[in-house]
Symmetry: C2
Subunit: 290 residues, 2 copies
């Protein structure tokens, strides 16, 4: 029995097959070019595996995931050129007569973390996962299920209290300017400092400012969802930045709600090398078979 | 068959009994004085009804609602004098050998709205309910169940982008100063203007400022939960204020996520005369019997 995983990102598709223990047996990275070319390569990849029983796709978005919607399975209006209004799930279904799970990239990641953390602690029930990279996305597991009824969470676009030392920065979100994504996504380094993020030392005050915003996101998620933990992944996140986020979070919360050990509560992914989405997809693919 | 409801507020307890159609058969208002006196009167009230089969309590808080917690059923650390660390549920259980449901005041209200709206539209699955009064509370139904794993939502304490005309106002929350509650709860009228809210005409700019904040709460709830609708109740809310909130919400969202008709999406309770919690309690009490 083999399970298929597509982690569809804006720069690459990670296609993988795994066994029922969620161990990866084979993996291929496909650069994200045009939809036709990229999806054709993905189809060709999975055609190699005769024992494939189901597939799960976790895709960049926004995507349509309401099953009763006309465009269920589509990538909808995305800033990624050429990829708006693409029938991703439908294309895969044309080539594979298999059950196929369809969800967002961050939902794939949060599900992988849920599976892995639950192995370590069976009481884990609810997780919020933020990815802070080119954009800011979020996925939520509550009682073992994804949150989002009319669509998937879009918590990258919440409003925030502005840092007093950052009031001159307008923010870069094309829809909202100074929403979370407009203030802390990777490209904000260039917008604020004219440098790439990896060139900006952690001693630069901009990291404190960004931690102030990300901590507000953690605060809001805490006060809304009351989850077991909040995970931060994505290219912008590193351990020292997480420490700053924990510091700001603790200060803002001011003892109002007890989240236990903040080092365990606000954490990086438990699965290394960005592997959360692949594990999540294997588990979601398997869930279609039971 | 009779169902019991206690809507326990900081100024009064509304005790009621109803039938299985959730029609109120009898009702009594008990002023909230000391815990001993108030709970004794509540017990005496329900003792009159021999056919009572179950009770639901929706209480002001914060309350402990984790069933495995030592203080499950308690009002925990509340600013209401004399009411911290009160074993509300335990006291009721001493006097009634009946199943008793235990939840927050706003959860009672959101459940009543869920029951009522679902009668009108079976597709209703998820509702966010904010009460804006002496404090700001929130309750969330998702897929027919309450949200909140480590405790109930505390969305009254989220941080917000400050309105440019309100930067001199510090906010009045004893924990967070300028969280949502610290900026829009009823007592902020006196803090800002030296007048009670009912004395402040809707033409006063302070209503626009407050709408700007409440709209952010609606925005965050939308981007996090993607609910079917958001309901605002409580003493501060009126129809003209709701119009201002809708206006600010639509401007902030800027078309990013489609919520349908905003007049239906952001709305006041469907059950009149603050009756939502009583209906919710009847339904929750009944749920214990099936």
């Amino acid at each position: 029995m083999l399970l298929g995983s597509i982690e569809a990102g804006g720069t690459k598709f990670i296609c993988a097959v795994g066994n029922k223990k969620y161990e990866t047996i084979d993996c291929e990275r496909i650069p994200t070019t045009t939809p036709d070319e990229t999806l054709e390569k993905a189809v060709k990849y999975f055609k190699q595996f005769k024992d494939l029983e189901s597939i799960s796709i976790s895709s960049f978005g926004p995507i349509e995931l309401r099953k009763d919607a006309k465009k269920y399975g589509y990538i909808t209006e995305t800033p990624k050129i050429g990829w708006s209004d693409v029938n991703f799930l439908g294309t895969m279904k044309q080539h594979f007569d298999l059950p196929i799970y369809w969800t967002t990239d961050v939902n794939g990641s949060v599900y992988g973390e849920y599976i892995n953390l639950k192995k370590q602690n069976s009481k884990i029930n609810s997780i919020v996962y933020y990815t802070v990279g080119t954009g800011v996305g979020a996925g939520i597991i509550f009682n073992g299920k994804f949150l989002g009824d009319l669509g998937h969470p879009e918590m990258g676009h919440i409003k925030l209290k502005r840092h007093p030392d950052d009031l001159d920065f307008d923010g870069i979100c094309p829809y909202h300017k100074d929403c979370l994504e407009g203030l802390v996504s990777g490209p904000t380094f260039e917008a604020r400092l004219g440098k790439k993020g990896f060139e900006v030392p952690i001693t630069n005050h901009v990291w404190d400012i960004m931690a102030y915003y990300v901590a507000q996101a953690a605060l809001q998620a805490t006060l809304t969802i009351r989850p077991n933990c909040i995970i931060f992944g994505g290219g912008v996140v590193n351990e020292k930045f997480l420490d700053k986020i924990r510091f700001e979070f603790t200060k803002m919360m001011n003892g109002y709600v007890n989240v236990g050990n903040v080092n365990k509560y606000i954490r990086k992914p438990s699965i290394s090398e960005n592997g959360s989405a692949t594990i999540g997809n294997f588990a979601l693919a398997k869930s279609l078979l039971s």
